[in-house]
Protein backbone atom coordinates (compact mmCIF):
# COMPACT_ATOMS: atom_id res chain seq x y z
CA UNK A 1 0.00 0.00 0.00
CA UNK A 2 2.93 2.36 0.73
CA UNK A 3 4.04 2.11 -2.87
CA UNK A 4 0.52 2.99 -3.95
CA UNK A 5 0.44 5.95 -1.57
CA UNK A 6 3.83 7.23 -2.73
CA UNK A 7 2.84 6.95 -6.36
CA UNK A 8 -0.46 8.68 -5.68
CA UNK A 9 1.36 11.54 -3.95
CA UNK A 10 3.66 11.96 -6.93
CA UNK A 11 0.90 11.88 -9.51
CA UNK A 12 -1.31 14.26 -7.52
CA UNK A 13 1.57 16.71 -7.24
CA UNK A 14 2.21 16.53 -10.98
CA UNK A 15 -1.49 16.99 -11.70
CA UNK A 16 -1.72 20.00 -9.39
CA UNK A 17 1.41 21.61 -10.83
CA UNK A 18 -0.22 21.57 -14.26
CA UNK A 19 -3.12 23.78 -13.13
CA UNK A 20 -2.65 27.43 -14.02
CA UNK A 21 -4.54 30.50 -12.87
CA UNK A 22 -5.39 33.65 -14.79
CA UNK A 23 -2.97 36.56 -14.38
CA UNK A 24 -5.93 38.90 -13.79
CA UNK A 25 -7.51 36.78 -11.03
CA UNK A 26 -7.25 39.59 -8.48
CA UNK A 27 -8.99 42.10 -10.77
CA UNK A 28 -11.68 39.51 -11.44
CA UNK A 29 -12.12 39.08 -7.69
CA UNK A 30 -12.49 42.82 -7.19
CA UNK A 31 -15.17 42.86 -9.87
CA UNK A 32 -17.02 39.95 -8.21
CA UNK A 33 -16.87 41.58 -4.79
CA UNK A 34 -18.38 44.75 -6.20
CA UNK A 35 -21.11 42.77 -7.98
CA UNK A 36 -21.78 40.76 -4.82
CA UNK A 37 -22.24 43.91 -2.77
CA UNK A 38 -24.64 45.35 -5.36
CA UNK A 39 -26.64 42.10 -5.35
CA UNK A 40 -26.88 42.13 -1.55
CA UNK A 41 -28.27 45.63 -1.54
CA UNK A 42 -30.76 44.67 -4.27
CA UNK A 43 -31.73 41.52 -2.35
CA UNK A 44 -32.49 43.51 0.80
CA UNK A 45 -34.73 45.84 -1.18
CA UNK A 46 -36.41 42.94 -2.99
CA UNK A 47 -36.97 41.04 0.25
CA UNK A 48 -38.55 44.08 1.85
CA UNK A 49 -40.88 44.45 -1.13
CA UNK A 50 -41.68 40.73 -1.11
CA UNK A 51 -42.54 40.79 2.58
CA UNK A 52 -45.04 43.55 1.95
CA UNK A 53 -46.59 41.59 -0.94
CA UNK A 54 -46.73 38.37 1.12
CA UNK A 55 -48.36 40.19 3.99
CA UNK A 56 -50.99 41.69 1.68
CA UNK A 57 -51.64 38.41 -0.19
CA UNK A 58 -51.52 36.38 3.04
CA UNK A 59 -54.13 38.65 4.54
CA UNK A 60 -56.39 38.09 1.56
CA UNK A 61 -55.97 34.29 1.72
CA UNK A 62 -56.78 34.18 5.41
CA UNK A 63 -59.86 36.28 4.81
CA UNK A 64 -60.93 34.12 1.86
CA UNK A 65 -60.51 30.75 3.60
CA UNK A 66 -61.37 31.88 7.08
CA UNK A 67 -58.35 29.93 8.30
CA UNK A 68 -60.00 26.59 7.82
CA UNK A 69 -57.67 24.61 5.61
CA UNK A 70 -55.35 23.23 8.30
CA UNK A 71 -52.29 22.66 6.06
CA UNK A 72 -49.43 24.33 4.26
CA UNK A 73 -50.10 27.21 1.89
CA UNK A 74 -51.31 26.52 -1.61
CA UNK A 75 -48.87 26.41 -4.50
CA UNK A 76 -48.99 28.80 -7.37
CA UNK A 77 -50.18 26.18 -9.85
CA UNK A 78 -48.35 25.15 -13.02
CA UNK A 79 -46.49 21.84 -13.28
CA UNK A 80 -46.74 19.46 -10.37
CA UNK A 81 -43.30 19.23 -8.72
CA UNK A 82 -44.18 15.67 -7.69
CA UNK A 83 -44.18 14.58 -11.33
CA UNK A 84 -41.66 11.78 -11.61
CA UNK A 85 -39.38 13.43 -14.15
CA UNK A 86 -38.74 16.34 -11.77
CA UNK A 87 -38.12 14.27 -8.65
CA UNK A 88 -34.56 13.83 -7.37
CA UNK A 89 -35.67 11.21 -4.86
CA UNK A 90 -38.82 9.39 -3.94
CA UNK A 91 -41.47 11.37 -2.03
CA UNK A 92 -41.10 10.97 1.72
CA UNK A 93 -43.88 10.78 4.27
CA UNK A 94 -42.64 13.38 6.74
CA UNK A 95 -45.60 13.26 9.13
CA UNK A 96 -49.25 12.35 9.49
CA UNK A 97 -51.67 15.19 10.08
CA UNK A 98 -55.30 15.28 10.99
CA UNK A 99 -57.21 17.43 8.52
CA UNK A 100 -60.91 17.89 9.24
CA UNK A 101 -60.70 14.89 11.57
CA UNK A 102 -59.16 12.62 8.91
CA UNK A 103 -55.60 11.25 9.22
CA UNK A 104 -53.73 12.66 6.24
CA UNK A 105 -50.25 12.09 4.88
CA UNK A 106 -47.89 15.07 4.65
CA UNK A 107 -45.39 14.26 1.91
CA UNK A 108 -42.21 16.04 0.88
CA UNK A 109 -39.72 15.56 -1.93
CA UNK A 110 -36.77 17.23 -3.58
CA UNK A 111 -37.76 18.33 -7.03
CA UNK A 112 -35.87 20.13 -9.80
CA UNK A 113 -38.35 21.57 -12.27
CA UNK A 114 -36.03 24.02 -13.99
CA UNK A 115 -32.58 22.42 -13.90
CA UNK A 116 -31.46 25.24 -11.59
CA UNK A 117 -31.24 23.12 -8.46
CA UNK A 118 -33.46 21.23 -6.10
CA UNK A 119 -36.48 22.72 -4.37
CA UNK A 120 -38.06 21.17 -1.31
CA UNK A 121 -41.71 20.60 -2.11
CA UNK A 122 -44.52 19.25 -0.01
CA UNK A 123 -48.16 18.46 -0.27
CA UNK A 124 -50.94 17.26 1.94
CA UNK A 125 -53.52 15.08 0.29
CA UNK A 126 -56.76 16.16 1.91
CA UNK A 127 -59.94 14.26 1.26
CA UNK A 128 -61.15 16.53 -1.52
CA UNK A 129 -58.10 18.43 -2.71
CA UNK A 130 -54.34 18.47 -2.62
CA UNK A 131 -52.28 21.52 -1.78
CA UNK A 132 -48.65 22.26 -1.17
CA UNK A 133 -45.72 24.49 -1.98
CA UNK A 134 -42.03 24.53 -2.87
CA UNK A 135 -39.09 26.19 -1.13
CA UNK A 136 -35.90 27.10 -2.91
CA UNK A 137 -32.52 25.99 -1.62
CA UNK A 138 -30.81 28.52 0.65
CA UNK A 139 -28.47 30.70 -1.41
CA UNK A 140 -25.61 29.90 0.98
CA UNK A 141 -26.43 26.21 1.32
CA UNK A 142 -22.89 25.23 0.30
CA UNK A 143 -21.42 27.42 3.02
CA UNK A 144 -20.03 25.18 5.78
CA UNK A 145 -21.87 27.31 8.33
CA UNK A 146 -25.20 26.38 6.79
CA UNK A 147 -26.76 23.00 7.59
CA UNK A 148 -30.43 23.83 7.02
CA UNK A 149 -30.42 23.94 3.21
CA UNK A 150 -34.19 24.37 2.99
CA UNK A 151 -36.48 25.83 5.64
CA UNK A 152 -40.04 27.02 5.33
CA UNK A 153 -42.98 27.70 7.58
CA UNK A 154 -46.59 26.87 7.08
CA UNK A 155 -49.70 28.18 8.68
CA UNK A 156 -53.12 26.65 8.42
CA UNK A 157 -54.97 29.86 9.07
CA UNK A 158 -55.21 30.33 12.80
CA UNK A 159 -55.26 26.58 13.51
CA UNK A 160 -51.74 25.29 12.96
CA UNK A 161 -48.12 26.29 12.70
CA UNK A 162 -45.62 24.10 10.92
CA UNK A 163 -42.06 23.89 9.71
CA UNK A 164 -40.64 21.88 6.83
CA UNK A 165 -36.90 21.58 6.42
CA UNK A 166 -34.11 19.76 4.65
CA UNK A 167 -30.64 19.38 6.12
CA UNK A 168 -27.37 18.48 4.46
CA UNK A 169 -25.50 15.20 4.64
CA UNK A 170 -23.42 16.17 7.68
CA UNK A 171 -26.44 16.40 9.96
CA UNK A 172 -27.17 13.42 12.18
CA UNK A 173 -29.58 15.00 14.67
CA UNK A 174 -31.88 18.01 14.76
CA UNK A 175 -33.30 19.31 18.02
CA UNK A 176 -36.56 21.23 17.83
CA UNK A 177 -36.92 23.48 20.87
CA UNK A 178 -40.47 24.54 21.63
CA UNK A 179 -41.36 27.88 23.19
CA UNK A 180 -42.34 26.18 26.46
CA UNK A 181 -38.87 24.65 26.85
CA UNK A 182 -39.74 21.17 25.62
CA UNK A 183 -37.34 19.62 23.16
CA UNK A 184 -38.12 17.01 20.56
CA UNK A 185 -35.82 15.32 18.08
CA UNK A 186 -36.78 15.74 14.46
CA UNK A 187 -37.74 12.56 12.67
CA UNK A 188 -35.18 12.78 9.87
CA UNK A 189 -36.14 10.95 6.69
CA UNK A 190 -33.74 10.32 3.79
CA UNK A 191 -34.42 12.84 1.04
CA UNK A 192 -33.19 10.39 -1.59
CA UNK A 193 -30.64 12.83 -2.98
CA UNK A 194 -27.07 13.46 -1.86
CA UNK A 195 -27.72 12.19 1.66
CA UNK A 196 -29.97 15.10 2.51
CA UNK A 197 -32.60 14.50 5.17
CA UNK A 198 -36.07 15.96 5.46
CA UNK A 199 -38.40 16.59 8.37
CA UNK A 200 -41.57 18.43 9.21
CA UNK A 201 -43.42 19.32 12.36
CA UNK A 202 -46.92 20.74 12.38
CA UNK A 203 -48.54 21.65 15.68
CA UNK A 204 -51.79 23.23 16.85
CA UNK A 205 -51.41 27.00 17.04
CA UNK A 206 -52.84 27.08 20.56
CA UNK A 207 -50.15 24.73 21.96
CA UNK A 208 -46.36 24.94 22.27
CA UNK A 209 -44.74 26.09 19.04
CA UNK A 210 -41.28 25.45 17.59
CA UNK A 211 -38.89 28.25 18.51
CA UNK A 212 -35.37 27.11 17.69
CA UNK A 213 -33.77 24.42 15.54
CA UNK A 214 -30.29 23.05 16.23
CA UNK A 215 -28.46 20.72 13.84
CA UNK A 216 -25.71 18.42 15.13
CA UNK A 217 -23.17 16.50 13.10
CA UNK A 218 -22.54 13.54 15.37
CA UNK A 219 -22.73 12.13 18.86
CA UNK A 220 -19.93 14.42 20.06
CA UNK A 221 -22.44 17.25 20.22
CA UNK A 222 -20.81 19.44 17.58
CA UNK A 223 -23.39 22.02 16.66
CA UNK A 224 -23.43 22.86 12.95
CA UNK A 225 -26.11 25.54 12.84
CA UNK A 226 -28.95 26.89 14.93
CA UNK A 227 -31.91 28.83 13.60
CA UNK A 228 -34.09 31.12 15.67
CA UNK A 229 -37.53 30.84 14.11
CA UNK A 230 -38.73 34.20 15.43
CA UNK A 231 -35.78 35.79 13.68
CA UNK A 232 -36.48 33.78 10.52
CA UNK A 233 -40.25 34.11 10.31
CA UNK A 234 -40.92 37.33 12.24
CA UNK A 235 -42.18 38.32 15.69
CA UNK A 236 -45.63 36.95 14.89
CA UNK A 237 -44.30 33.40 14.73
CA UNK A 238 -44.76 33.11 18.50
CA UNK A 239 -47.51 34.65 20.63
CA UNK A 240 -45.00 36.51 22.80
CA UNK A 241 -42.28 36.91 20.20
CA UNK A 242 -42.06 40.72 20.38
CA UNK A 243 -39.11 42.59 21.83
CA UNK A 244 -41.08 44.70 24.29
CA UNK A 245 -41.26 42.73 27.58
CA UNK A 246 -45.03 43.10 27.69
CA UNK A 247 -47.91 40.70 28.20
CA UNK A 248 -47.84 37.48 30.19
CA UNK A 249 -44.29 36.23 30.70
CA UNK A 250 -43.33 32.66 29.85
CA UNK A 251 -40.87 32.13 32.70
CA UNK A 252 -39.14 33.81 35.61
CA UNK A 253 -35.72 33.00 36.99
CA UNK A 254 -34.21 34.28 40.21
CA UNK A 255 -30.86 33.83 41.82
CA UNK A 256 -29.37 35.06 45.03
CA UNK A 257 -26.53 37.39 44.18
CA UNK A 258 -23.18 35.68 44.47
CA UNK A 259 -21.56 36.41 47.78
CA UNK A 260 -24.30 38.89 48.48
CA UNK A 261 -26.55 39.33 51.43
CA UNK A 262 -29.94 38.54 50.04
CA UNK A 263 -30.12 40.68 46.94
CA UNK A 264 -31.67 38.86 44.01
CA UNK A 265 -31.15 38.95 40.32
CA UNK A 266 -34.48 38.49 38.61
CA UNK A 267 -34.82 37.52 34.96
CA UNK A 268 -38.28 37.51 33.40
CA UNK A 269 -38.50 35.85 30.00
CA UNK A 270 -40.85 36.20 27.08
CA UNK A 271 -40.36 34.38 23.79
CA UNK A 272 -38.67 37.36 22.17
CA UNK A 273 -37.47 39.51 25.04
CA UNK A 274 -36.12 39.47 28.57
CA UNK A 275 -36.30 41.84 31.51
CA UNK A 276 -33.38 41.82 33.93
CA UNK A 277 -33.72 43.34 37.38
CA UNK A 278 -31.34 43.69 40.25
CA UNK A 279 -33.86 43.56 43.09
CA UNK A 280 -31.95 45.76 45.44
CA UNK A 281 -34.20 47.92 47.58
CA UNK A 282 -34.67 51.47 46.32
CA UNK A 283 -32.06 51.42 43.64
CA UNK A 284 -33.71 48.59 41.68
CA UNK A 285 -33.92 49.18 37.96
CA UNK A 286 -34.97 46.96 35.08
CA UNK A 287 -33.49 46.48 31.65
CA UNK A 288 -35.58 45.12 28.79
CA UNK A 289 -33.61 43.40 26.03
CA UNK A 290 -34.72 41.84 22.77
CA UNK A 291 -33.51 38.27 22.29
CA UNK A 292 -31.35 37.90 19.20
CA UNK A 293 -30.79 34.86 16.98
CA UNK A 294 -27.23 34.15 18.18
CA UNK A 295 -26.43 31.62 20.91
CA UNK A 296 -25.64 34.56 23.20
CA UNK A 297 -29.11 35.97 22.70
CA UNK A 298 -28.91 38.94 25.07
CA UNK A 299 -26.56 40.35 27.66
CA UNK A 300 -26.23 43.28 30.00
CA UNK A 301 -23.93 44.38 32.79
CA UNK A 302 -25.96 44.50 35.96
CA UNK A 303 -23.68 46.41 38.22
CA UNK A 304 -19.98 47.03 38.34
CA UNK A 305 -19.00 43.36 38.36
CA UNK A 306 -21.93 41.22 37.24
CA UNK A 307 -23.00 40.31 33.73
CA UNK A 308 -26.32 38.66 32.98
CA UNK A 309 -26.79 36.82 29.70
CA UNK A 310 -29.50 34.76 28.11
CA UNK A 311 -28.14 31.76 26.28
CA UNK A 312 -29.63 29.47 23.65
CA UNK A 313 -30.29 25.83 24.52
CA UNK A 314 -27.50 24.38 22.34
CA UNK A 315 -24.88 25.86 24.68
CA UNK A 316 -23.68 23.55 27.43
CA UNK A 317 -20.98 25.59 29.14
CA UNK A 318 -19.61 29.07 29.44
CA UNK A 319 -16.21 30.45 30.35
CA UNK A 320 -15.09 33.86 31.46
CA UNK A 321 -11.72 34.29 29.75
CA UNK A 322 -9.53 37.09 30.94
CA UNK A 323 -7.24 35.42 29.40
CA UNK A 324 -6.01 32.71 30.15
CA UNK A 325 -9.03 30.45 29.64
CA UNK A 326 -11.24 30.24 32.68
CA UNK A 327 -13.02 27.28 34.16
CA UNK A 328 -15.95 25.87 32.26
CA UNK A 329 -19.23 26.34 34.07
CA UNK A 330 -22.31 24.35 33.14
CA UNK A 331 -25.47 26.08 32.01
CA UNK A 332 -28.91 24.98 33.07
CA UNK A 333 -32.26 25.55 31.35
CA UNK A 334 -34.94 27.76 32.83
CA UNK A 335 -38.18 25.87 33.26
CA UNK A 336 -40.91 26.93 30.85
CA UNK A 337 -38.60 28.31 28.15
CA UNK A 338 -35.79 27.05 25.91
CA UNK A 339 -33.45 29.74 27.19
CA UNK A 340 -30.72 29.47 29.79
CA UNK A 341 -29.54 32.26 32.07
CA UNK A 342 -26.06 32.94 33.34
CA UNK A 343 -24.97 35.45 35.92
CA UNK A 344 -21.21 35.77 35.79
CA UNK A 345 -18.90 37.60 38.12
CA UNK A 346 -16.47 39.62 36.06
CA UNK A 347 -13.76 42.21 36.71
CA UNK A 348 -14.79 45.75 37.56
CA UNK A 349 -16.36 47.43 34.56
CA UNK A 350 -13.53 49.89 34.33
CA UNK A 351 -11.12 47.03 33.71
CA UNK A 352 -13.15 44.87 31.34
CA UNK A 353 -10.22 45.04 28.90
CA UNK A 354 -9.81 41.80 26.96
CA UNK A 355 -12.21 39.84 29.15
CA UNK A 356 -14.71 37.83 27.17
CA UNK A 357 -17.48 35.38 27.86
CA UNK A 358 -17.56 32.42 25.52
CA UNK A 359 -20.32 29.84 25.29
CA UNK A 360 -19.50 26.33 24.15
CA UNK A 361 -21.34 23.25 22.96
CA UNK A 362 -20.74 19.82 24.45
CA UNK A 363 -17.85 19.18 22.04
CA UNK A 364 -16.10 22.29 23.42
CA UNK A 365 -16.75 24.14 20.18
CA UNK A 366 -17.12 27.89 20.68
CA UNK A 367 -20.65 28.89 19.69
CA UNK A 368 -20.50 32.58 20.45
CA UNK A 369 -18.40 35.13 22.30
CA UNK A 370 -18.96 38.44 23.99
CA UNK A 371 -16.17 40.91 24.66
CA UNK A 372 -17.20 42.69 27.83
CA UNK A 373 -15.90 46.05 26.70
CA UNK A 374 -18.66 45.96 24.06
CA UNK A 375 -21.34 45.96 26.74
CA UNK A 376 -23.16 49.19 27.36
CA UNK A 377 -23.63 50.34 30.91
CA UNK A 378 -26.98 49.42 32.44
Amino acid sequence: MNHLEDRLRTELRQEADAVRTSPDAWQENRRRLAASQRRRVARVLTTAAAVIVVLLVGGLIVVATNGADGGPPASGGGDDPFTERFLLGPPVQVETLEVDGVPTVHEAALSDMTGKGPNLCDHVEAASSGFGSCTIREPDADDPAVAFDWLSSSSGGSDTRGILAGVDSRVMTVQIWMDNGDMTLADLKPGGWEDTKLFALTVPADGPRPQRLVAYSDASGKSLQSVDLVDRFGDGWLPRGGKTCTGAATATWRQPRRGGTGDDVSVVLWSGSVKVTLAESDTAGSTCLGLGPSPLAASTPLDAHLVVAVIAPEAEFYEVRQPPPGLQTALYPVSGTPWQVLVASVPQQSTFGDTEIVVLDSSDGVLDRLFLDQLASP
Partner: protein, 172 residues
Protein backbone atom coordinates in the same frame (compact mmCIF):
# COMPACT_ATOMS: atom_id res chain seq x y z
CA UNK B 1 -10.08 49.41 2.48
CA UNK B 2 -6.55 50.50 1.62
CA UNK B 3 -6.08 50.10 -2.06
CA UNK B 4 -8.57 47.33 -2.07
CA UNK B 5 -6.40 45.20 0.15
CA UNK B 6 -7.44 44.87 3.72
CA UNK B 7 -10.90 43.78 4.66
CA UNK B 8 -13.04 45.55 5.79
CA UNK B 9 -14.69 48.49 7.42
CA UNK B 10 -13.07 47.90 10.80
CA UNK B 11 -14.99 44.69 11.47
CA UNK B 12 -12.21 42.29 10.69
CA UNK B 13 -9.83 40.61 13.11
CA UNK B 14 -6.41 42.17 13.43
CA UNK B 15 -3.94 40.67 10.99
CA UNK B 16 -6.45 39.17 8.63
CA UNK B 17 -5.80 40.87 5.35
CA UNK B 18 -7.91 39.81 2.48
CA UNK B 19 -5.60 40.78 -0.35
CA UNK B 20 -2.68 38.95 1.21
CA UNK B 21 -4.87 35.91 1.68
CA UNK B 22 -5.98 36.10 -1.91
CA UNK B 23 -2.51 36.31 -3.37
CA UNK B 24 -1.21 33.71 -0.96
CA UNK B 25 -3.90 31.10 -1.44
CA UNK B 26 -5.85 31.68 -4.65
CA UNK B 27 -3.69 29.39 -6.75
CA UNK B 28 -3.81 26.66 -4.10
CA UNK B 29 -7.60 26.87 -3.88
CA UNK B 30 -7.88 26.73 -7.68
CA UNK B 31 -5.69 23.65 -7.70
CA UNK B 32 -7.76 22.06 -4.94
CA UNK B 33 -10.97 22.60 -6.92
CA UNK B 34 -9.30 21.15 -10.01
CA UNK B 35 -8.04 18.14 -8.10
CA UNK B 36 -11.53 17.49 -6.78
CA UNK B 37 -12.92 17.45 -10.29
CA UNK B 38 -14.48 20.92 -10.69
CA UNK B 39 -15.25 21.77 -14.30
CA UNK B 40 -14.20 25.41 -13.75
CA UNK B 41 -11.83 25.41 -10.79
CA UNK B 42 -10.93 29.08 -10.99
CA UNK B 43 -14.58 30.03 -10.79
CA UNK B 44 -14.95 27.88 -7.67
CA UNK B 45 -11.93 29.51 -6.05
CA UNK B 46 -13.22 33.00 -6.91
CA UNK B 47 -16.59 32.22 -5.35
CA UNK B 48 -14.92 30.84 -2.22
CA UNK B 49 -13.01 34.10 -1.76
CA UNK B 50 -16.14 36.18 -2.29
CA UNK B 51 -17.85 34.17 0.47
CA UNK B 52 -14.82 34.58 2.71
CA UNK B 53 -15.03 38.32 2.18
CA UNK B 54 -18.62 38.30 3.47
CA UNK B 55 -17.55 36.54 6.65
CA UNK B 56 -14.19 38.03 7.50
CA UNK B 57 -15.55 39.80 10.55
CA UNK B 58 -16.57 36.46 12.05
CA UNK B 59 -13.39 34.49 11.51
CA UNK B 60 -10.88 34.06 14.30
CA UNK B 61 -7.63 34.46 12.38
CA UNK B 62 -5.83 33.80 9.11
CA UNK B 63 -5.62 30.07 9.82
CA UNK B 64 -9.36 29.97 10.31
CA UNK B 65 -9.76 31.84 7.03
CA UNK B 66 -7.70 29.25 5.14
CA UNK B 67 -9.69 26.45 6.74
CA UNK B 68 -12.88 28.20 5.77
CA UNK B 69 -11.68 28.63 2.20
CA UNK B 70 -10.72 24.97 1.93
CA UNK B 71 -14.07 23.80 3.28
CA UNK B 72 -15.92 26.14 0.95
CA UNK B 73 -13.97 24.94 -2.07
CA UNK B 74 -14.74 21.32 -1.14
CA UNK B 75 -18.45 22.09 -0.74
CA UNK B 76 -18.71 24.23 -3.86
CA UNK B 77 -16.93 21.63 -5.96
CA UNK B 78 -19.16 18.90 -4.59
CA UNK B 79 -22.17 21.02 -5.44
CA UNK B 80 -20.88 21.74 -8.98
CA UNK B 81 -20.24 18.08 -9.63
CA UNK B 82 -23.69 17.26 -8.27
CA UNK B 83 -25.34 19.94 -10.38
CA UNK B 84 -23.62 18.67 -13.51
CA UNK B 85 -24.96 15.21 -12.76
CA UNK B 86 -28.50 16.62 -12.56
CA UNK B 87 -28.04 18.59 -15.78
CA UNK B 88 -26.76 15.52 -17.57
CA UNK B 89 -29.74 13.56 -16.31
CA UNK B 90 -32.30 15.91 -17.86
CA UNK B 91 -30.62 17.24 -20.97
CA UNK B 92 -29.78 15.69 -24.30
CA UNK B 93 -26.08 15.11 -24.85
CA UNK B 94 -24.46 18.33 -26.06
CA UNK B 95 -21.58 18.63 -28.50
CA UNK B 96 -18.27 18.01 -26.81
CA UNK B 97 -17.15 20.96 -24.70
CA UNK B 98 -14.08 22.93 -25.59
CA UNK B 99 -11.82 22.17 -22.68
CA UNK B 100 -10.51 25.05 -20.60
CA UNK B 101 -6.82 25.77 -20.83
CA UNK B 102 -5.88 24.27 -17.51
CA UNK B 103 -7.86 21.09 -18.09
CA UNK B 104 -6.28 20.76 -21.50
CA UNK B 105 -2.85 20.99 -19.92
CA UNK B 106 -3.76 18.26 -17.47
CA UNK B 107 -5.01 16.02 -20.25
CA UNK B 108 -1.88 16.47 -22.32
CA UNK B 109 0.15 15.25 -19.40
CA UNK B 110 -2.27 12.44 -19.00
CA UNK B 111 -0.11 9.47 -18.19
CA UNK B 112 -1.10 9.62 -14.55
CA UNK B 113 -2.89 6.30 -14.28
CA UNK B 114 -3.58 6.49 -10.58
CA UNK B 115 -5.18 9.92 -10.82
CA UNK B 116 -7.26 8.74 -13.75
CA UNK B 117 -8.40 5.75 -11.70
CA UNK B 118 -9.10 7.98 -8.71
CA UNK B 119 -11.54 9.98 -10.85
CA UNK B 120 -13.70 6.86 -10.99
CA UNK B 121 -14.12 6.71 -7.20
CA UNK B 122 -16.99 8.31 -5.30
CA UNK B 123 -16.65 12.07 -4.67
CA UNK B 124 -16.11 11.48 -0.95
CA UNK B 125 -13.29 9.02 -1.56
CA UNK B 126 -11.68 11.41 -4.04
CA UNK B 127 -11.91 14.25 -1.52
CA UNK B 128 -10.32 12.11 1.17
CA UNK B 129 -7.43 11.00 -1.04
CA UNK B 130 -6.72 14.48 -2.38
CA UNK B 131 -6.79 16.11 1.05
CA UNK B 132 -4.65 13.37 2.55
CA UNK B 133 -2.08 12.68 -0.14
CA UNK B 134 -1.85 16.02 -1.93
CA UNK B 135 -2.46 18.54 0.82
CA UNK B 136 -1.09 16.31 3.63
CA UNK B 137 -3.84 17.48 5.97
CA UNK B 138 -4.26 15.98 9.40
CA UNK B 139 -7.36 13.93 10.12
CA UNK B 140 -8.80 16.81 12.12
CA UNK B 141 -8.25 19.25 9.26
CA UNK B 142 -9.74 16.79 6.80
CA UNK B 143 -12.75 16.27 9.04
CA UNK B 144 -13.34 20.01 9.15
CA UNK B 145 -12.93 20.41 5.41
CA UNK B 146 -15.22 17.50 4.57
CA UNK B 147 -17.75 18.20 7.31
CA UNK B 148 -17.54 14.71 8.75
CA UNK B 149 -16.08 13.06 11.85
CA UNK B 150 -12.47 11.91 12.08
CA UNK B 151 -13.61 8.31 12.10
CA UNK B 152 -15.40 8.86 8.82
CA UNK B 153 -12.27 10.46 7.37
CA UNK B 154 -10.24 7.39 8.25
CA UNK B 155 -12.85 5.15 6.67
CA UNK B 156 -12.93 7.21 3.45
CA UNK B 157 -9.14 7.16 3.12
CA UNK B 158 -8.90 3.47 3.80
CA UNK B 159 -11.76 2.49 1.50
CA UNK B 160 -10.59 4.91 -1.15
CA UNK B 161 -7.14 3.33 -1.19
CA UNK B 162 -8.64 -0.16 -1.28
CA UNK B 163 -10.87 0.79 -4.18
CA UNK B 164 -7.97 2.42 -5.98
CA UNK B 165 -5.80 -0.66 -5.52
CA UNK B 166 -8.62 -2.83 -6.83
CA UNK B 167 -9.07 -0.63 -9.88
CA UNK B 168 -5.35 -0.69 -10.64
CA UNK B 169 -5.32 -4.44 -10.20
CA UNK B 170 -8.16 -4.70 -12.68
CA UNK B 171 -6.29 -2.73 -15.31
CA UNK B 172 -3.34 -5.11 -15.31
Amino acid sequence: MDGGGAVDDGTVDVGLRYEQLFHGHFAAMTRLAAMLGADDPEDVAQEAFVRLHRRTGRLRDANAAVGYLRTTVVNLTRSRVRHLAVVRRYRQPAPADVASAEIAVVRREGDRELVAAMRRLSPRHQEALVLRFWLDLTEAEMAESMGVSRGTVKAHVSRGLDALAALMEGTR
